[in-house]
C-alpha cells in the first residue's frame, strides 16, 4: 500500500476549481479503517443500545450521514470539498449530540459543540481560501506537488497556518476550545464512542497531518502544535482526576490524548510521526472499548457515577474483560499496543527539537494521569464488591458486548504482533506526513533504556495514584470552584458580554424612536456629503448665474420664507395647513415666473386637494403635543439647518457647472414635427416619456386602493390573530 495512491474525481464546480476529488493514500486509509471499522461496531452496538427508541431510524440516519461525511473528509483531495464534509460532520454531530433534544442540557451542549466547531469551520473556510490564493489551486495533490518554499515564503503563509490551526484546534478540542467535548457527552454513548473519541475529533488531527507536508516544518507550525498540544494534554489529563461521571473521565482523557497527538505531530520528526500514527490506533481501540463498556454499564445499571459503581465483574464479566484490557492498553502496560504507543511517544519526545527535558516531564505526567483515568474507567467499576442496588444487573445482548471485546482483542493482537500494522498502516502514514518510513521498525520490546525506565515510572506512579486517589464528588465540587477561570466559563462570560453588547448596540440604533432614526440618517448624510464637499469641491459659485433679483421676486422669496417658518413654528395645526397653502401658492408663482405654467397649475390643484384632505382628516386628529424640549429642538434645528445649507450650497455648486440641454432640445425640435404636440411638457408626459406617466397613474391607483383598504377594512376579531 505504501506509496500507492488511489484517485477518483468528479468535476463539481469547475469554475471554482472545486471537484469531488478523492484520494486514498496511507493517511486516508488509516482514518478510513477507523471510520468504517469502529463505525460498523457502533452500528451493531446501537441496535441494542437504542433498541426501543422511538427515533432509532433517525439516529441511524444521522449516523450514516456522519459516517459518509467523515469518509468524504478524509478522502477529499479538494480543500473545498474537504471543508464541505468537515461542515457536514459538524452538523451531523449537532444532531447526534442533540439527539435527546427535549432535554435542555442536551440542546445546550449541541449548541456549544456546534458553536465551537462551527467557528472552526469558518477558520477552515478562510484558511482553505487563503491556501487557494497562495497556491492557485484547491487540489491538495497539487499543493503537495508545489515547491514548499513557494508556500512558506508567501506573505499569507502565517495567516493560512493560523486559520488552519483554528479549525483543527476547535474540532479536535484543543485548549482552550476543549470544553465542548465534555459537554458533548450528553449524546448517546454510541455517539460519544464514534464521534467524540474515535473519529470526528480526530478530523482536526487529520487536517494537521494532511497539511504537515505542505505547511509544516516552520517554527510557527511546530512550536504552536507542541505548546498547544502539551497544554491540552496536561490540562485535561489533570482535569480527568476530578470527574465522577465515567463519560466525563473518558472525555477529558480523550482531550488529553488529542493533545498528545498534536504534540507529537508538532515535533515533526519521523519518530514523532510514527508515534502519532501508532497512538491514533492505540487510542481509537482502547477509548472506543471503554466508551462502549461504559455505555453498557450505563445502559444496564442506569448510572455512570463511578463512585457508585463497583464489582460489576460479577454480573458483566465479558464486558469487564474488554474494559480491563482497554485500561491496560491505556496505561501502556505490555503486551498491549498501548505500551508500544507509549514507548514510541517517550522516544519521540526525548528527541524533541526544543526543550526536550521539560516536554518529557510533561508527557510522563500526562501518561500517569491517563493511566489513572483508564483504570478508573476500565477497572474501577468491575473491582471490589457488588452493591445491593446493582445485583439485578443483566448482561446485554451480544451485539452490545461483542464489539468492545473485539476492539480489546485488537489492542492485544496489535501489541503482540505490531508488524501487522507496521507495513500496512504506519509506514504509509508516516510517508504521507513526509517522514522517512524506511526507518520504522515496530516491536514491543525496545530494550532496557531510558524510555523503558520512564515507562516503569509511569506505571508505578500511576498505579499508586489509582489506589490512593479515588474519584469523589467532593473533589469534583472543589475543582468546580476553579471553573470560574476556566476557558469554558470565560467563553460563557464572553458570550454573556457579547450578548449584552449586542442588545446594547441594537437598542442604541433600533430604539423605537422614529426621530432618532431620521436624525441618524440625516446626520450620516451631512457627514458624508459634507466631508466630500469640503474635501473636493471648489466653492467657485459663479456670480453671473445670479441674475438680477426683481423686487417682486424678492417678495415671493420673503413670503415663502415666512410662510415656511410659520408652518414650522405655529402652534396650531390648522394654521400650519393654511400656511402650507401660502407656501404652495408661492411655489406656484415661482413656476409661473419661470416659464412652467403646467407645473403651476398642477402644483396649485394638488395643494388645494391636500388642504381638502387635511381638513377631512384633521379634526379627527389630536392637537399638537405640548412638549417643550428646548435642547432637542436646538439640536434638531442645527441639524436641519446644516442639512438645508448643504443642499443650498450643493445647488449653487451645480448651477455654476456648464449646462447641457441636448435632450430638452431634441424634445423641443421634434415635439410638433414628430409627436404632433406643441406643449412640450405634455408631449414629454404622454409620448417621449409616456412610460413614466403610465407607471405614475398606477402609483396613484395603488394609493387609492390602499386608502380604501386602510379605511374600510376592519378585521374581524377572529381574523385579527391570523
Amino acid at each position: 500500500m505504501e506509496g500507492n495512491v488511489v484517485k477518483e474525481s468528479y468535476n463539481w464546480v469547475p469554475s471554482f476549481g472545486v471537484n469531488l476529488g478523492f484520494t486514498l493514500d496511507g493517511l486516508s486509509l488509516l482514518f478510513c479503517l477507523m471510520i468504517t471499522g469502529i463505525g460498523f461496531l457502533v452500528f451493531a452496538y446501537t441496535s441494542v443500545y437504542l433498541h426501543h427508541h422511538k427515533y432509532l431510524d433517525r439516529f441511524y440516519g444521522y449516523l450514516s450521514v456522519f459516517m459518509a461525511a467523515m469518509l468524504g473528509l478524509v478522502l477529499s483531495d479538494n480543500v473545498i470539498s474537504l471543508f464541505t464534509f468537515w461542515e457536514l460532520t459538524s452538523i451531523s454531530s449537532f444532531f447526534l449530540i442533540g439527539f435527546n433534544n427535549t432535554q435542555e442540557a442536551s440542546r445546550k451542549s449541541a449548541l456549544t459543540a456546534l458553536g465551537i466547531t462551527g467557528l472552526g469551520g469558518m477558520f477552515l473556510l478562510a484558511g482553505v481560501i487563503v491556501l487557494g490564493n497562495i497556491t492557485g489551486t484547491f487540489s491538495i495533490a497539487e499543493m503537495l506537488n508545489m515547491s514548499p518554499e513557494l508556500i512558506k515564503g508567501h506573505e499569507y503563509y502565517t495567516v493560512a497556518v493560523i486559520l488552519l490551526f483554528g479549525a483543527a484546534f476547535t474540532k479536535s478540542a484543543q485548549f482552550p476550545f476543549h470544553f465542548w467535548l465534555p459537554g458533548a457527552m450528553k449524546a448517546p454513548t454510541p455517539v460519544s464512542t464514534y464521534l467524540h473519541s474515535a473519529t470526528m475529533v480526530k478530523a482536526g488531527i487529520y487536517l494537521v497531518m494532511r497539511f504537515t507536508p505542505v505547511l509544516g516544518g516552520e517554527e510557527i507550525w511546530n512550536t504552536t502544535l507542541i505548546v498547544v498540544g502539551a497544554v491540552t494534554m496536561l490540562y485535561s489529563a489533570f482535569h480527568s482526576l476530578f470527574r465522577t461521571d465515567l463519560k466525563g473521565v473518558l472525555a477529558y482523557s480523550t482531550i488529553s490524548a488529542l493533545g498528545i497527538l498534536m504534540f507529537l505531530i508538532g515535533m515533526g520528526t519521523t519518530e514523532s510521526f510514527t508515534a502519532a500514527a501508532v497512538f491514533i490506533i492505540v487510542h481509537a481501540l482502547y477509548k472506543a472499548t471503554l466508551f462502549l463498556t461504559t455505555g453498557i454499564i450505563d445502559h444496564q445499571t442506569g448510572t455512570r457515577d463511578v463512585t457508585v459503581l463497583s464489582g460489576l465483574r460479577k454480573v458483566l464479566m465479558p464486558v469487564g474483560i474488554a474494559a480491563i484490557i482497554a485500561a491496560i492498553s491505556s496505561a501502556g502496560i505490555p503486551p498491549t499496543i498501548g505500551f508500544l504507543g507509549k514507548e514510541l511517544t517517550y522516544e519521540a519526545t526525548m528527541h524533541a527539537p526544543i526543550i526536550a527535558t521539560l516536554l518529557v516531564v510533561g508527557i510522563v505526567i500526562t501518561k500517569i494521569l491517563l493511566l489513572w483515568a483508564g483504570f478508573v474507567a476500565g477497572i474501577k467499576p468491575f473491582q471490589g464488591s457488588l452493591p445491593e442496588s446493582l445485583k439485578d444487573t443483566k448482561m446485554p445482548g451480544p451485539f452490545m458486548w461483542v464489539p468492545p471485546i473485539l476492539l480489546a482483542v485488537l489492542s492485544l493482537v496489535f501489541g503482540i504482533m505490531p508488524f501487522i500494522i507496521e507495513g500496512s498502516l504506519i509506514k504509509p502514514v508516516v510517508s504521507a506526513l513526509g517522514g522517512e518510513s524506511g526507518e520504522i521498525h515496530l516491536a514491543l520490546w525496545h530494550g532496557f533504556n531510558t524510555v523503558f525506565i520512564l515507562s516503569l515510572v509511569t506505571i508505578a506512579v500511576g498505579t499508586t495514584l489509582y489506589f490512593v486517589l479515588k474519584p469523589s464528588a467532593k473533589l469534583e465540587t472543589a475543582v468546580g470552584k476553579l471553573e470560574a477561570a476556566s476557558p469554558k466559563s470565560l467563553m460563557e462570560k464572553f458570550n454573556v458580554g457579547f450578548t449584552y453588547l449586542s442588545s446594547f448596540w441594537t437598542r442604541v440604533f433600533q430604539n423605537g424612536y422614529l426621530r432618532n432614526y431620521v436624525f441618524i440618517i440625516i446626520f450620516f448624510l451631512i457627514g458624508m456629503v459634507g466631508y466630500t464637499m469640503i474635501g473636493n469641491t471648489k466653492f467657485n459659485i459663479d456670480p453671473s448665474i445670479l441674475s438680477n433679483v426683481s423686487f417682486y421676486e424678492l417678495v415671493v422669496f420673503i413670503i415663502m420664507c415666512i410662510a415656511i417658518l410659520f408652518t414650522v413654528f405655529t402652534s396650531s395645526r390648522l394654521s400650519a395647513v393654511v400656511a402650507m397653502g401660502v407656501v404652495g401658492l408661492t411655489i406656484c408663482l415661482v413656476f409661473v415666473f419661470y416659464s412652467a405654467p403646467d407645473l403651476a397649475m398642477t402644483q396649485f390643484s394638488i395643494d388645494t386637494l391636500t388642504v381638502i384632505l387635511f381638513v377631512l382628516v384633521l379634526y379627527r386628529l389630536p392637537r399638537y403635543l405640548k412638549i417643550q424640549d428646548h435642547k432637542m429642538r436646538i439640536r434638531d434645528g442645527i441639524l436641519s439647518l446644516m442639512f438645508g445649507g448643504l443642499i443650498a450650497v450643493l445647488a449653487l455648486e451645480v448651477l455654476s457647472e456648464p449646462v447641457n440641454t441636448e435632450i430638452g432640445d431634441f424634445y423641443a425640435e421634434n415635439s410638433y414635427i414628430m409627436a404632433h404636440g406643441k406643449n412640450v411638457v405634455n408631449v414629454i408626459l404622454v409620448d417621449f416619456r409616456g412610460a413614466d406617466t403610465m407607471i405614475e397613474i398606477s402609483v396613484l391607483t395603488i394609493a387609492a386602493i390602499g386608502v380604501f383598504g386602510l379605511l374600510k377594512l376592519r378585521l374581524k376579531r377572529t381574523d385579527r390573530v391570523q
Binding site: G677, N679, N682, V686, L700, A704, V707, F708
Partner: protein, 137 residues
C-alpha cells in the same frame, strides 16, 4: 354644510368646473393643461359638490363607484400604449396619429387617448380617496 347659498352655487359651479376640466384635458397637447390637471379639477368639482350637498347626493349623481374609473382609465392608457404594437408593429407607446386636422383637438392620436386615461385615473383616484375619508368614522 347646509347653506342654501353654497348648495345653489354648487349646482351651477359643478357643470362649469367639469366643462373646464375637459377643456383643460383636451387642449393639453397644445397649451398648458392635460390629463392630470384636468382630472384634478374634475375631482375637485365633485368634492365641492359633496361639501355642499352631502356625500350621498354626490354619489347618486355619479351613479357608479369612482373606483371603477381607475381600472377603466388604466386600461384606456394601457391600450392606447399597446395600440402601436397591435396596429403598426411598433414598440410600446409609439405614437399613432390620424393625419388630418380635427376641430378643437388638432391632431388626434394615441397620445390623446393616453391622456384621457390619465384623466380618468386621476378622477377615480382622487374621488376614491376623498369619498373614503369622508365616509370613514
Amino acid at each position: 354644510m347646509k347653506t342654501i347659498i353654497l348648495r345653489t352655487a354648487s349646482n351651477y359651479l359643478l357643470p362649469v368646473l367639469l366643462l373646464f376640466s375637459i377643456f383643460i384635458l383636451l387642449r393639453g397637447h397644445y397649451l398648458p393643461g392635460g390629463g392630470f390637471v384636468g382630472g384634478l379639477i374634475a375631482a375637485i368639482a365633485f368634492v365641492f359638490h359633496s361639501f355642499a350637498n352631502g356625500l350621498k347626493n354626490t354619489k347618486s349623481l355619479l351613479r357608479f363607484h369612482p373606483g371603477f374609473l381607475m381600472p377603466a382609465g388604466l386600461a384606456l392608457s394601457f391600450f392606447s400604449g399597446l395600440s402601436p404594437i397591435i396596429f403598426a408593429g411598433d414598440p410600446f407607446m409609439t405614437g399613432l396619429w390620424y393625419h388630418g386636422h380635427v376641430p378643437v383637438l388638432g391632431s388626434v392620436g394615441s397620445a390623446l387617448f393616453f391622456d384621457m386615461g390619465v384623466y380618468l385615473v386621476v378622477v377615480g383616484v382622487t374621488l376614491t380617496i376623498i369619498f373614503t375619508i369622508s365616509e370613514a368614522p
